[in-house]
């Protein structure tokens, strides 16, 4: 019965491939192995962070450490991290976590090392307070991650549209002209009258820019929904719907092709609440619009959109080496390098004192002093508590705003419906 033998052999092969791949993977790149006396660290990052240069530099200075850099899409990295933590195997030694996801992983903080145990407290004062607190437990005892870049927001604007509307095109003058939201509303009416164009492209950005200035947003620190009692979010919503109803806000949804092509067409005046990393999006969508864009401050203060942290999952067998590496990687000097190489805006304020850094200008943005404007914005950001269910509230409010903008729905009815949907979904968490 040779056939039987082959059958058994084949089967064991299938089983070996199907069942055991996890084990072999874990021993190969799970970071637990030491090869040639070297400590191997798996390092997951997303976006075009450009950390490869710094990783090479670190490995040359520390020949006993080998770092396996693994770059992926942002959502993939978070999903993979979530799955591997949930399954209990496959997580890297060091992972990048975006600010919108950090609260979710904070709920599973027993799956991560507390960086305070490795010396995070000693470097705390090198970073912006609000940024540091985003990766901290509410009681301040647990530090989940070290800060990477941040996304302080500014107002990008089209100089050609401003000129046509009879508004100043110089950043300082425009900032003085549109100093508060009443002035922004007046400017919106003037732009509509002179050019027929809306002042901004999407309801979401308009709303986010206002909401980010509030001292509290959707939840309090006990994760209770406060949008019905706290006035700020509703005020932002009402201001946005007022502008929408008067035809002063465009109807593009973020990240759609129409939204991208509107950047090139100049079919609106301002991209409000745009962080440093948005520069790459504008240049990518509108490669020929150089000199037609510029940027200045947002009326009444900046918010923050995006930015990440580096965390060390409990599955790592080398937390000390991993911590030493991220402390080095995210030091002010290296954050400056990441800014120069890839435009990651530093979260360490001592960089903002650097002459060379402050002198950074961008020809595409009509020679505006980009680094200085963002640095000013970064210093004015207020620390806010986002909470783990932030995106549920965010998605429903954006849906309500979209209905007002696109379908002409009644703002108050949409708000009530959104609050009801939010409560329904929160009950399940």
């Amino acid at each position: 019965m040779k056939k039987l033998f082959y059958m058994v052999a084949f089967l064991s092969l299938v089983l070996a491939l199907a069942g055991c791949s996890d084990d072999s993977k874990a021993s190969e790149d799970g970071g637990s192995g030491k090869s040639d006396g070297k400590v191997e660290l798996d390092f997951w990052v997303f976006g075009s962070a450009g950390y490869d240069v710094l990783v090479d530099e670190y490995m040359q200075e520390n020949p006993d450490v080998k770092i396996n850099l693994n770059e992926g899409e942002m959502s993939d990295v978070h999903n993979n991290l979530f799955t591997s933590l949930s399954a209990g195997s496959g997580a890297p030694d060091i992972t990048m976590i975006e600010v919108s996801e950090i609260a979710k992983f904070m709920q599973a903080k027993d799956q991560f090392y507390n960086l305070n145990d490795y010396g995070a407290k000693d470097v705390e004062d090198k970073y912006l307070d609000w940024k540091w607190q985003q990766a901290q437990s509410v009681d301040g005892e647990f530090q989940l991650g070290l800060p990477t870049d941040i996304g302080p927001t500014t107002m990008f604007y089209r100089t050609d549209v401003m000129e046509e509307a009879g508004l100043p095109t110089d950043p300082q003058e425009l900032s003085a002209e549109i100093s508060d939201w009443d002035a922004y509303y007046e400017a919106a009416k003037q732009i509509k009258e002179k050019t027929g164009k809306p002042i901004t492209d999407s309801p979401e950005l308009m709303f986010s820019a206002l909401r980010d200035q509030a001292p509290e947003q959707y939840f309090n620190e006990d994760d209770e929904l406060i949008i019905e009692s706290s006035p700020y979010v509703k005020e932002a919503y009402d201001y946005t719907t007022k502008l929408i109803e008067e035809g002063l806000v465009g109807q593009n949804a973020l990240w759609t092709p129409e939204w991208g092509s509107a950047m090139a067409d100049g079919s609106y005046a301002t991209l409000i609440g745009a962080p440093a990393w948005m520069i790459a999006n504008v240049k990518g969508n509108a490669p020929d619009a150089g000199g037609k864009w510029s940027l200045t401050t947002i009326p009444e203060g900046a918010g923050n959109w995006g930015g990440s942290f580096m965390a060390i999952p409990k599955e790592s067998n080398h937390p000390e080496e991993a911590y030493a590496f991220i402390e080095w990687l995210l030091s002010p000097e290296n954050q400056l390098k990441s800014f120069q190489n890839n435009g990651l805006f530093p979260s360490a304020p001592e960089v903002y004192e650097d002459e060379e850094f402050l002198a950074t200008t961008d020809e595409y943005f009509s020679g505006a002093e980009t680094a200085k404007t963002f640095a000013e914005a970064a210093k004015s950001v207020k620390p806010i508590y986002m909470g783990v269910n932030y995106s549920i509230v965010q998605d429903e409010l954006i849906l309500a705003l979209t209905n007002v903008a696109v379908e002409g729905a009644d703002p108050q009815k949409e708000w009530d419906a959104a609050v009801k949907r939010i409560k329904d979904q929160l009950a399940r968490q």
């Binding site: 019965m1 056939k3 039987l4 059958m7 058994v8 089967l11 299938v14 089983l15 199907a18 069942g19 999903n79 979530f82 933590l85 949930s86 979710k104 992983f105 709920q107 599973a108 799956q111 949804a253 990240w255 759609t256 092709p257 129409e258 269910n389 995106s391 549920i392 998605d395 954006i398 849906l399 979209t402 209905n403 696109v406 379908e407 949907r421 329904d424 979904q425 009950a427 399940r428 968490q429």
Partner: protein
């Protein structure tokens, strides 16, 4: 995925190896008959092993999760039937069920009827370049769903410069807001489903048509039957098993409609276009409520059983 692929049946039907005629050698002291049976089971085992790991286990785990409250990372908490109560009392769930049914009917019913007509044409002796047309009709099925959804997303752009809106304006109609209006969304998604699956059904029907013996048609012609009578009394009754198959696949596929609305609507999960599976996906991977997501899956499972039974009842009457 709008319809499940035909499950390859070959593994399950593999015939046990014939007893070898040569010398008898002792092998684990089994009788020849038992050895045959054993090797037979070994032949079919890969499918069942893989199914147990990747099919059965997730199903049972999902059933278990339906009674738990779990965010994917923390501790599970037994909550009894609470998840089912949440889902069944959620108007958006019922809306998603209605959407699924509406898109299913708009997307698949014309597809099946036109599929039969196309298959009849492809099978006709009058048609030239048969293989060319057969391949062309099947092409949409091979196209990636995501690519289809993106291309249709550009065509069904809500603004005035969207391709479909340009044609509508040209014909004197108003632009339709394809991504936000109640029926615009459904029609756009149904069109994608129709375009992608009509060729798939046509090819299945074509295979069915070619299985009908020509003698029957010849005999009918001699007896003076018209084309209409030939179709009514020969083609449709003989095609019945195939029609039942396609109706089943389409129903299950329509209930599982997911990729097209997800790519077309993005992550906004608008009420006008959310389907049951999209609702489930939102619960699990957007809201991190794996309990209610699993409860939705179980409810969907029972809905599919009920619909399939109704299908059996009605399709049995075809051609009687």
């Amino acid at each position: 995925m709008a319809q499940p692929q035909l499950q390859p049946q070959t593994e399950a039907k593999s015939v046990p190896a014939k007893p070898s005629p040569g010398k008898k050698r002792p092998f684990f002291h089994l009788s020849e008959k038992k050895k045959d049976a054993l090797s037979g089971y070994l032949y079919i085992s890969p499918f069942y092993l893989l199914f147990a790991v990747f099919g059965l286990f997730p199903m049972l785990f999902s059933f278990y999760l339906g009674f738990q409250k779990w965010n994917g990372l923390g501790e599970m908490e037994f909550v009894g039937l609470q998840n089912f109560r949440f889902v069944l009392s959620d108007p958006i769930f019922w809306k998603s069920l209605f959407n699924t049914a509406a898109i299913g009917i708009i997307g698949t019913l014309p597809q099946l009827i036109i599929g039969i007509i196309l298959a009849y044409a492809l099978n006709s002796a009058l048609l030239k370049f048969k293989s060319f047309f057969r391949v062309s009709i099947f092409m949409p099925y091979v196209t990636s769903t995501v690519a289809v959804a993106i291309v249709f997303g550009v065509m069904f752009n809500s603004q005035d410069f969207g391709l479909v809106n340009v044609v509508l304006n040209w014909l004197g109609f108003d632009s339709v807001s394809w991504s936000t209006s109640e029926w615009g969304v459904k029609i756009a998604i149904s069109t994608m489903v129709f375009w992608r699956w009509v060729g798939y059904n046509t090819i299945i029907y074509l295979a069915g048509l070619q299985g009908i013996p020509n003698d029957l048609y010849e005999a009918a012609k001699i007896d003076g039957a018209s084309i209409r009578q030939q179709i009514q009394y020969i083609t449709i009754p003989m095609l019945k098993p195939i029609i039942i198959l396609t109706v089943f696949l389409s129903t299950i596929g329509a209930m599982q409609l997911f990729t097209e609305p997800l790519v077309f609507l993005g992550r906004s999960f608008r009420e006008e276009g959310i389907t049951v599976v999209l609702y489930l996906y939102r619960e699990a991977f957007s809201n991190m409520a794996f309990g209610t997501a699993s409860a939705t899956a179980i409810i969907l499972f029972f809905i599919i059983i009920v619909l399939s039974s109704i299908n059996v009842f009605f399709t049995n009457r075809i051609g009687r």
